[in-house]
C-alpha cells in the first residue's frame, strides 16, 4: 500500500508541476495587470500547437522558439485588446478574455483541424526509470526539471533584476512608476507577453505528455483556476504549493476512487474557499475595483 501511494504521489508531483507553471502565468497576469485572463488556457494550447508545427518543419531544437512566438502574439493581443480593459470592472475582463479564449481555440481548429496531433517526446528522452514501485518516464523527469528551472528563473527575474522589480512595482502602484518616467504601457505589454509565454512553455512541455488537441485549452484553464483559488490570486508561492497539492490529490484519488478524480480538485478548492477564501497565500482584499 505504501509503495503504491509513493509511486502515485511522485507521479502526482509531475502533474502538479505542470499545473504550477500554468497557474503561475495566470497569477502573474493578475498580479501585474489586474486582469483575470480566461484565455490563458488557449495560450497554453497555442504553445503546444506552435511547438508541434515547429517540430514538423524544423525538428526538435526549433521548439524553443514556441514560447517566444506565443509571447509575441500575447503582446500583440495586449496592445490590441487587453489594454482597453485596465481599470474597468472585472466582469468585463472576464467576458472579453473568455471570448478571446474561444476565438483562439476556434482558430486552432480551423488551422490545424479538430483531431489530436500525436507528439512524442524526443528520442533522447524515451525510456523509463524503474525503482521498485516507482515507475516514471524519462520525459516526465525532464518535465519536472524543466518546470522547476523555469519557476526558479522566473522568481529570480522578478525578485532580483531591475526589470523584474519594475514589473512588480508597476503592479503595485502604476501611477508612481509612471511618474518616475518609466514607460508604463510598454511595461504592461511585456508583462502580458510574459504571462502568455509561461503558459506556452507549459504547453510545449505538456504536448508530448498528452495529445495536442484543441480541448487541451479547457484541460489547462480549469485546473489553473482551481490552483490559483487555492493558492491565492497573485501569489507565486501560493501557486507553487497549491499546484503540487492538486497534482498529488488527483493522483491519490485515482488510486482509491478514479471516477472521483476530476471532482477531487474542485472539492479541495471548495474546502479552501470555505475555510480561507483568500487562499493559502493570497493577499487580503482591501478594496475590490
Amino acid at each position: 500500500m505504501l509503495e503504491s501511494l509513493l509511486s502515485q504521489a511522485v507521479n502526482g508531483l509531475v502533474l502538479g508541476f505542470i499545473y504550477v507553471l500554468i497557474a503561475v502565468g495566470l497569477s502573474i497576469t493578475f498580479g501585474l495587470l489586474g486582469i483575470i485572463n480566461f484565455a490563458h488556457g488557449a495560450f497554453f494550447a497555442l504553445g503546444a500547437y506552435v511547438a508541434y508545427q515547429l517540430y514538423q518543419m524544423f525538428g526538435w531544437p526549433a521548439v524553443v522558439f514556441a514560447p517566444i512566438i506565443v509571447g509575441l502574439v500575447g503582446m500583440v493581443v495586449e496592445v490590441v485588446l487587453i489594454r482597453r480593459l485596465y481599470g474597468k470592472e472585472p466582469l468585463i475582463s472576464l467576458i472579453v478574455t473568455f471570448a478571446l479564449g474561444l476565438l483562439i481555440e476556434a482558430l486552432i481548429r480551423v488551422f490545424w483541424g479538430s483531431d489530436g496531433k500525436p507528439l512524442s517526446p524526443p528520442s533522447a528522452l524515451t525510456g523509463v526509470f524503474e525503482y521498485g514501485p516507482l515507475l516514471i518516464t524519462k520525459y516526465r523527469v525532464a518535465v519536472l526539471l524543466a518546470t522547476a528551472l523555469t519557476l526558479a528563473a522566473l522568481w529570480a527575474f522578478l525578485s532580483y533584476t531591475p526589470y523584474g522589480r519594475i514589473l512588480r512595482a508597476g503592479g503595485r502602484d502604476p501611477e508612481m512608476v509612471d511618474m518616475l518616467g518609466i514607460n508604463l504601457p510598454r511595461l504592461l505589454t511585456a508583462a502580458f507577453g510574459l504571462g502568455c509565454a509561461i503558459a506556452a512553455i507549459a504547453g510545449v512541455l505538456a504536448g508530448p505528455l498528452w495529445t495536442v488537441s484543441p480541448s487541451m485549452a479547457t484541460n489547462a484553464i480549469m485546473p489553473a483556476f482551481v490552483v490559483v483559488a487555492i493558492g491565492g490570486l497573485g501569489s507565486f508561492r501560493g501557486a507553487v504549493f497549491a499546484g503540487l497539492a492538486v497534482g498529488v490529490v488527483i493522483s491519490l484519488t485515482i488510486q482509491f476512487k478514479p471516477d472521483a478524480a476530476a471532482a477531487s480538485m474542485y472539492a479541495f478548492m471548495f474546502l479552501m474557499l470555505l475555510l480561507r477564501p483568500r487562499g493559502l497565500f493570497g493577499e487580503r482584499w482591501e478594496r475590490f475595483e
Binding site: E3, Q8, N11, L135, R140, S215, N219, I254, P258
Partner: protein
C-alpha cells in the same frame, strides 16, 4: 359621423382581415406544395469537437458520400444535409430538437456516443422522426430503452465482447478493466463480468475513467501494481489514443496485452505505429479482402475524395444513410411511419448472407470483425490483420444477437 366612421373602419378591418387570410391560405398551400416538391432535409448529428471529433468527421464524410453516390437526391428531389454538433448529451439532444424544429428534417442519422444516443432517442420518439444511430453500442438502446423510431447499425456490446472473449482467455486468467464512466463503459463491465466465469477468468481490478481524461499515468501505475495477464479497455476516440501513447511510454506495451471493442481506425492513426498494439473488435475494416463490391467501391470513392481510406466510422455512416435513402425510395414517401416500416423491411443483400434491421428491436444484424494490430506496420493506414468475423453463418449471427427475452425490448406502435 362617428358611427359611419366606425362602420367604414369595421369594413376596412374586415377587408384587411380577409386579405390576410387569403395571403396565409396561399402561403400555406405553397408550403404544402413545397413539402411534396422542394428539397428533402436530413439531419446529421456528429461530434465536431472534443475527444470524438475524429470519429465525427469520418462519420459525416461516410454519410455524405452515401448521399453523393445516390446522386444527391431521393424521390427525385434534392437532399439538404445539415451537420449539427454532438459535443455532449445535452448539446446532442438540443441539436436533435433544433434539427426537427428549425431545419424541418424528415429523419436524422447521427449519434456516436451511447450517452448522446439515449438523449436523442427520446426526442425521436416524442417528435416521431426516424433516427438511425451509426455508433452507440450500449445494449439498452435496442434493449430496455428501445423505441419504434430508433434504429442502430453498430453491433451491441455483448455481441462484440462475446467475439473478443476467446482471445482474452487465450492470453491468460487475470483480467483488469479500464473503462469510461458512462453507459458504454458500464455495459462493457456488465457484459464481461457475466462472461468471465464461463471462460474461467478472474477480475483483478477495474477503473472507471472520466471521459476526456488527458493523463493516464496514475491508472497505468495501478494496472502495473495489479499484475493482470490482459487488460480489457473501453476508452473512446482520443482518450484511447492518449492511453495507448502513455501505455507505450511507460514501457507496458510489450509487457501486458491490451484488448478492446468498438474501436476505430482513427484512434490508432492518431497515435502512430510505434504505440499501437492489441486485439480489437470493430464494425468493419477497409482492407478486409471479404468486403462486398459496393463496399470496395465505397473505399475507392472515399480514398479518392479525401486522400485517405475510410475508417469503420465512415462505413457506419455510409450504411446508415444508404439504409435511410433506400427505405425512403421504397416507401415512396417522406412520412415517418412509412419510412419506419420500410426500414424494418430493408435488407443489404450483398455479402455471404443479408444484413437487416431486426423487426422487434431495430438492431442491424450483421457480424463485426475481429482484428489484430500488425506486427510490422509499413503502410500509413493499414494497421490491422483481419482475424475472423464475430459469427460466420446467418444462424450463428442471429443467435449471437440474443433472443427477445434476453434483449428485453418492448416497442410500442408507431
Amino acid at each position: 359621423m362617428n358611427e359611419s366612421h366606425t362602420m367604414s373602419a369595421c369594413g376596412s378591418i374586415g377587408a384587411r382581415a380577409g386579405l390576410v387570410a387569403l395571403v396565409f391560405g396561399l402561403a400555406a398551400s405553397f408550403g404544402a406544395l413545397a413539402q411534396t416538391s422542394g428539397p428533402i432535409k436530413i439531419g446529421m448529428i456528429y461530434a465536431k469537437q472534443g475527444p470524438s471529433a475524429s470519429l465525427g468527421e469520418f462519420l459525416a464524410h461516410g454519410t455524405e458520400l452515401a448521399l453523393e453516390q445516390a446522386g444527391n437526391n431521393v424521390l427525385g428531389r434534392p437532399v439538404e444535409l445539415t451537420w449539427l454538433d454532438e459535443a455532449d448529451p445535452q448539446v446532442a439532444q438540443q441539436n436533435m430538437q433544433k434539427a426537427i424544429d428549425e431545419y424541418k428534417v424528415i429523419a436524422v442519422v447521427g449519434g456516436n456516443s451511447s450517452a448522446s444516443a439515449l438523449a436523442m432517442m427520446s426526442v425521436a420518439s416524442r417528435e416521431k422522426i426516424p433516427l438511425i444511430l451509426p455508433g452507440a453500442a450500449a445494449s439498452e438502446i435496442t434493449g430496455k430503452k428501445c423505441n419504434r423510431y430508433t434504429f442502430r447499425t453498430q453491433a451491441t456490446v455483448p455481441v462484440q465482447m462475446r467475439g473478443l472473449m476467446p482471445y482474452v482467455s487465450q492470453l491468460g486468467k487475470k483480467v483488469y478493466f479500464i473503462t469510461p464512466s458512462y453507459a458504454f463503459g458500464q455495459d462493457i463491465l456488465r457484459s464481461s463480468r457475466a462472461m468471465l466465469k464461463e471462460v474461467g477468468l478472474t477480475e483483478v481490478g477495474s477503473d472507471e475513467v472520466p471521459v476526456n481524461t488527458a493523463d493516464y499515468s496514475s491508472y497505468i501505475l495501478k494496472i502495473r501494481q495489479a499484475k493482470p495477464d490482459v487488460v480489457v479497455g473501453g476508452l473512446v476516440g482520443l482518450d484511447l489514443s492518449n492511453f495507448l501513447k502513455q501505455w507505450n511510454e511507460l514501457g507496458m506495451k510489450d509487457k501486458i496485452p491490451f484488448v478492446e471493442i468498438a474501436v476505430s481506425d482513427t484512434d490508432f492513426w492518431n497515435v502512430g505505429p510505434v504505440a499501437s498494439t492489441g486485439i480489437y473488435v470493430k464494425p468493419w475494416y477497409y482492407n478486409n479482402p471479404d468486403n462486398t463490391s459496393s463496399e470496395k467501391k465505397f473505399v475507392a470513392d472515399f480514398t479518392k475524395k479525401y486522400g485517405r481510406p475510410p475508417s469503420d466510422k465512415a462505413w457506419s455512416g455510409w450504411i446508415a444513410m444508404r439504409s435511410l435513402l433506400e427505405s425512403i425510395e421504397q416507401a415512396n414517401s417522406t412520412d415517418s411511419a412509412a419510412i419506419i416500416m420500410a426500414l424494418e423491411k430493408w435488407r443489404y443483400t450483398e455479402g455471404k448472407f443479408p444484413a437487416f434491421y431486426r423487426e422487434w428491436d431495430h438492431q442491424l444484424i450483421k457480424p463485426a470483425v475481429i482484428v489484430q494490430i500488425k506486427k510490422d506496420i509499413t503502410d500509413k493506414w493499414d494497421y490491422f490483420n483481419v482475424l475472423k468475423l464475430t459469427s460466420d453463418t446467418e444462424a450463428e449471427t442471429a443467435k449471437s444477437f440474443g433472443t427477445r427475452e434476453e434483449i428485453g425490448c418492448n416497442m410500442g406502435p408507431i
